[in-house]
């Protein structure tokens, strides 16, 4: 598979554990990622909040660069990046807009490259292939699959799963031998890019999500978004302090979980670089390969 990789700023920045996890996990599955050359930031929340046109142009440049490089598929592990790419892809169905955006971004935009999120990438690899590749079934894992916002919304743009009751991550986890819980906060927002701008908002939302996961019997949360990970993992200590809670709930990227089942170690996947690394209660119940005791 020749897949264009649009890492986005987060994965080249403080979410580089996600980048490490993806490369280790996909490498073990024989999928190689080729970075889209000269990619730029998609503008994120700041662009769509302050300047609509810029919010279209920045991702349009990236889609055009990926198409110039000949990629038929572009994988964007950040749901905001991938949603913005999809928005552009949908907009350029209108030829006038396509030409205008091509001029603005100084690159011919066709809009024919398929845009994939992480869950779709694993779906394309195939449940059967994942099942046969499993070395360490995740028997001790009871996960709360957390989708957050932009993997599912806007539904008419992302056209992925059921935007209120998604099941795609649960299906993948079942193939890896993990259990998943039914819970209430699958698609609620974690506060996303407000981490710095309005920490209070993030702590309130993250607290609700983490608490609900614990109350429904989950022993970890699985995400497919760098910002969800920041808010649920890095901010978890601040949530505990603010709300006087003991959560100690591991937050894994979906690629961590697949990688663990494939027999990769926590160090290989970068799980040892997460903020919350709960100690396993016993070897038997530890998540396979989890470095656990590290703090």
């Amino acid at each position: 598979m020749n897949i264009g990789y649009y890492p986005g700023c987060a994965l080249h920045g403080s979410s580089n554990d996600y980048d490490q996890s993806l490369k280790a996990c996909l490498g073990a599955l024989g999928v190689s990622l080729q970075e889209v050359k000269d990619w730029i930031c998609c503008g994120a929340t700041a662009a769509h909040s302050l300047n609509h046109k810029l919010a279209m142009a920045l991702p349009a440049r990236n889609l055009a660069l990926a198409e110039r490089d000949g990629f038929k598929q572009v994988f964007a592990p950040c749901p905001l990046c991938s949603m913005q790419l999809l928005k552009v892809r949908q907009a350029v169905a209108d030829d006038g807009l396509r030409q205008e955006l091509s001029q603005i971004v100084e690159a011919e935009l066709r809009g024919d490259a398929e845009v994939l999120n992480l869950i779709q990438l694993f779906q394309n690899i195939g449940e059967e292939r994942l099942k046969t590749a499993v070395q360490q079934p995740l028997e001790s894992m009871t996960a709360a699959c957390y989708y957050g916002c932009l993997l599912l919304r806007p539904p008419d743009v992302v056209k992925f799963d059921d935007c209120e009751q998604p099941k795609s991550m649960e299906t993948l986890l079942a193939a890896l031998g993990a259990k998943t819980v039914e819970w209430s906060y699958q698609t609620e927002c974690c506060g996303a890019g407000m981490t710095m701008a309005s920490e209070d908002t993030v702590l309130e939302l993250a607290s609700k999500i983490l608490t609900n996961a614990v109350e429904h019997g989950a022993n970890c949360v699985v995400v497919a978004c760098p910002m969800c990970h920041v808010n649920l993992d890095m901010k978890q200590a601040a949530v505990e302090r603010k709300y006087g809670k003991q959560l100690n709930l591991a937050v894994y990227y979906l690629s961590d979980v697949v990688g663990l089942a494939l027999g990769l170690s926590g160090e290989q996947l970068g799980i040892d670089r997460h903020f919350v690394t709960p100690a396993p209660t016993s070897a038997k119940t530890a998540v396979a390969g989890d470095p656990g005791a590290k703090h």
Partner: protein, 215 residues
């Protein structure tokens, strides 16, 4: 009161958001699903109601529009296809452009502006530069020294996890990025919009196409 200004806004907001505001029948589903409604001075359906009444001027001044976390739940659940999240995007854009940002929202706005400036300079996000610029900006506005050191304890933790990059990468085609910015925002640069500075709306030549993109 600026009823005449409000009328021109409505059409531009509808066009940018690709929605017909009049379609809203005030069921309140947007507000019911909004994760930050409790933090808003006016909740989403009330903002839409203001637009229905032609009181865009009031909507532009709310802190609500900057409390929004852009989760898109409101838009996804609207039974009348009003893209409420896109309406709030449009309100934010006009609010900043016209210097009508609520003082309660200045921290959020400082962050968004620092972010866009950062991308303009580097093509890709330089996290340390963003944090420095954002903190300095908020310090100058609020004179709260404590904000400068808030989260400073995270730095060594990020460092030990190899998550902090002292030397950040830049995109190679910075000149292209500069030209893209110039084409998208000929009359509007995040850095020269000051909150509280009242500005007349400045429809740019690109306005018509901006609105077309929204559809």
């Amino acid at each position: 009161m600026e009823p005449s200004g409000a009328i021109t806004h409505s059409a531009r907001i509808e066009s940018l958001a690709g929605s017909t505001i009049a379609n809203c029948y005030q069921c309140g589903k947007c507000t019911a699903g909004c994760p930050v409604a409790s933090r808003m001075d006016l909740v989403p359906n009330q903002l839409i109601r203001l637009l229905q009444l032609g009181r865009d001027d009031l909507a532009l001044n709310t802190a609500s529009i900057w409390a929004c976390v852009s989760c898109l739940t409101c838009s996804a659940r609207c039974p009348k296809q009003v893209d409420c999240a896109a309406v709030l995007d449009a309100l934010r854009e006009f609010s900043l452009r016209e210097g009508k940002v609520s003082p309660a929202a200045r921290t959020v706005v400082a962050f968004q502006r620092a972010f866009l400036d950062n991308i303009k300079r580097n093509g890709r996000l330089n996290e340390l530069e963003l944090i420095a610029r954002f903190k300095l900006d908020v310090l100058l506005r609020t004179r709260q020294l404590a904000f400068l050191f808030k989260d400073a304890g995270l730095a060594p933790q990020l460092m030990s996890r190899k998550k902090l990059h002292l030397v950040s990468e830049r995109a190679r085609d910075l000149e292209v990025v500069g030209r893209i910015y110039a084409r998208c925002a000929p009359s509007f640069h995040p850095s020269d919009c000051k909150e509280g500075n009242r500005r007349e709306p400045q429809p740019s030549p690109a306005e018509a196409s901006v609105e077309a993109v929204a559809k």
